[in-house]
């Protein structure tokens, strides 16, 4: 378990890394309500996987914790924990 703010900090760092792969008009915004899945998200499955792994690495680097966020069973779930930055931060904080 880590503090939710720390989880958001790690997610934002991962978003910076991911935005380097996206055209400027598709950049993910660093805000809690940014959609990460579904039609309102610019991410496809590879983009989402890259984001989740980048967050895992940030958590490991910043907090020394080994966390597994990537779960193939959750990738297709539009209402699951990957839905927005906010829901992902909750999931990350609990998982770490």
């Amino acid at each position: 378990m880590i503090d939710k703010n720390k989880a958001i900090e790690a997610i934002y760092a991962a978003i910076d890394e991911l935005n380097a792969q996206l055209p400027a008009d598709q950049h993910l915004q660093k805000s809690a309500d940014t959609n990460l899945t579904g039609e309102k998200s610019p991410l496809d499955s590879l983009g989402l996987i890259n984001l989740l792994v980048a967050i895992e690495q940030e958590i490991s680097k910043l907090h020394g914790k080994d966390v597994q966020l990537l779960d193939e069973n959750l990738l297709g779930e539009e209402g699951g924990p990957y839905r927005t930055v906010e829901t992902l931060a909750d999931y990350t904080a609990q998982s770490a």
Partner: protein, 567 residues
């Protein structure tokens, strides 16, 4: 070949989609078109590139990035600690190299990522580098074998993944989670670093290499203010850690001159005091002869840089500027957006590494002319001194006293590399600004109605090297000059006229009636237009020049033109 988007074809045995995404947006000025072939089918994708015509008909750049275990099955045995046969492994490498060589002949260029493996995997530990036993030594042998087998293809270049892995955090760059979920073994930071290198290689292919470093002196080449302390008081070499760092920085700069990079000085200083330090300080690595030009005075640096560029005859886009003072860097950036002005570390201990990390000197060929370029400019200073010491006379008379000798030679295997380099680097005296690889140039020249000549120029002060190219194509009663390229080092020495005479002779031999040149304007080749306007050719249409071959086109009186004896 300029102006079109760069096209890449990615071929791999793993998922390179992330690299493709980064490549598409990494250069906002020139977005790339990227095709990703299905992963796991490297051999099939390479074989599919074979073109029945046998000629490269594409601008595509292939990027091949494979894992050693998927190409060389014997390596898998070694990695699994089984006994293995080195020769069998190298035979598999040879088979892969043959396919790569064939594929490269149908591409503009082929970039191949050297095979690597995670350094954290211990393998056989103490035995991992024992021949015939460990996987690590086999991997090195496989890489060397591959490099040797590909050496004959001049458009194949190796990419260095360990640099990307280091940039991406070393061990953290290998991401098993991504491998298992998406068949991508690396974190996206690795692909970002790879994309930067690929962009740099691509720019090198197009000849966009920095050719001149303009340097400050105080606290850049040495520590301290020479105008205040005299040369005896500056920090350089000796037993000071900063002094050693400044000296190493000078060594790194000197090494770059071996790659054809010129050095110049632009310093706010008293010139006599600064030159005295350069001449007399026993620990100086760079001496006066290492600098192609200098402006050491109290004028603003923008004016001085303008003056240096005029003297050396280079465009601002060929320049890197290094100065410890952020205000001076800002001024130069503002006045010359094309000049590369890197942020510079405050700590001189970091200077050598900062220089060695720059990608702007990447080039795809290294010729004797490159290695000798600094001495060409030293000779040029002697020529100017000679001219300044002469009584006022005509330009032709001065040229005659230079005793210029131009040696012409048809394009051949020996001069092909330098000819392609000159074609791709020259901007000012360039008729059509065609950019071609060695293979493309050789293929173009192979057609019976085409011909390419190279020109070497020398005078009483030294050899300028291979500095000119002219090519022509014969069709009907006309020979068209396709390329007319001359290094800025010899522009205005009437070599241009000797080159035209050479193709004039060939056009006559072909039975043509007209010799024509069509000037293709760019931002930089105005000097070429000026030459053709004054060449005596009739401008029958704008930028379209014609000579009627009944009229002789003589070698200029001020120089001698001779043919290179056949080897």
């Amino acid at each position: 070949m300029t102006g079109a988007p760069v096209r890449y074809r990615l071929i791999s045995d793993f998922n390179l989609e992330t690299l493709a995404r980064i490549l598409r947006i990494n250069n906002p000025q020139k977005p790339a078109q990227v095709t990703v072939t299905p992963y796991g089918q490297a051999f099939q994708s390479l074989l599919a590139l074979q073109n029945p015509s046998g000629f490269p008909d594409t601008d595509e750049i292939g990027i091949v990035w494979t894992q050693p275990q998927s190409i060389v099955k014997t390596y898998t045995d070694a990695a699994n600690f089984l006994p293995y046969d080195t020769d069998a492994a190298l035979a598999e490498v040879n088979a892969f190299a043959d396919v790569l060589n064939q594929a490269a002949s149908n591409l503009r260029a082929l970039f191949i990522t050297r095979w690597t493996s995670p350094s954290t995997e211990r393998g056989l530990g103490p035995l991992d580098y024992r021949p015939g036993c460990g996987a690590r030594i086999l991997l090195d042998r496989m890489n060397i074998q591959l490099a040797d087998r590909l050496a004959s293809s001049s458009n194949i270049f190796f990419l260095e993944p360990d640099r990307w892995i280091g940039e991406a955090g070393g061990n953290a760059a290998w991401t098993p989670a991504l491998w298992y979920a998406a068949k991508a073994p690396f974190s996206s930071k690795v692909y970002q670093a790879a994309s930067n290198d690929i962009l740099s290689y691509t720019q090198a292919l197009g000849g966009h290499t920095k050719k001149l470093i303009i340097l400050d002196l105080d606290d850049t080449l040495w520590g301290g203010i020479v105008g205040e302390t005299g040369w005896q008081g500056i920090t350089l070499g000796g037993h000071s850690h900063a002094g050693e760092a400044f000296q190493d920085f000078q060594r790194a700069l000197k090494a770059l001159t071996q790659r054809g990079v010129l050095l110049a000085l632009c310093s706010k200083n008293d010139e006599p005091a600064a030159l005295e330090a350069i001449d007399k300080h026993p620990e100086m690595i760079l001496r006066r002869a290492d600098f192609a030009a200098w402006r050491i005075n109290w004028q603003d640096k923008a004016s001085n840089i303008r003056s240096i560029l005029e003297e050396i005859n280079l465009g601002a886009d060929a320049v890197l500027f290094i100065d410890d003072n952020p205000a001076e860097r800002g001024l130069v950036s503002e006045n010359f957006p094309q000049i590369l002005v890197p942020d510079w570390p405050k700590n001189p201990a970091l200077y050598p590494a900062a220089l060695k990390q720059l990608t702007c000197f990447d080039s795809v060929a290294l010729s004797d002319e490159d290695r000798q370029r600094a001495s060409y400019y030293a000779a040029e200073r002697m020529r100017r001194t000679f001219r300044d010491g002469e009584e006022t006379g005509s330009s032709t008379a001065w040229l005659e006293r230079l005793e210029i000798c131009v040696t012409v030679e048809e394009l051949n295997q020996t001069n092909l590399s330098r000819a392609a380099q000159l074609l791709n680097k020259t901007n000012q005296m360039n008729l059509s600004t065609r950019r071609m690889t060695e293979a493309e140039l050789a293929n173009w020249n192979a057609a019976p109605d085409r011909k390419i000549w190279t020109f070497r120029v020398a005078d009483r002060f030294g050899d300028y090297g291979l500095t000119g190219i002219i090519s022509g194509e014969h069709e009907g009663d006309t020979v068209s000059i396709i390329d007319f390229v001359l290094s800025c080092r010899v522009m205005g020495r009437q070599v241009e006229g000797a080159m035209v005479h050479q193709i004039f002779k060939w056009a006559k031999e072909q039975g043509a009636r007209h010799l024509e040149a069509r000037f293709v304007p760019t931002e930089r080749n105005r000097p070429c237009h000026d030459f053709w306007t004054a060449s005596g050719f009739e401008e029958v249409h704008p930028h379209h020049f014609r000579w009627v071959l009944d009229n002789p086109y003589a070698v200029p009186d001020a120089l001698t033109l001779k043919a290179q004896a056949a080897a």
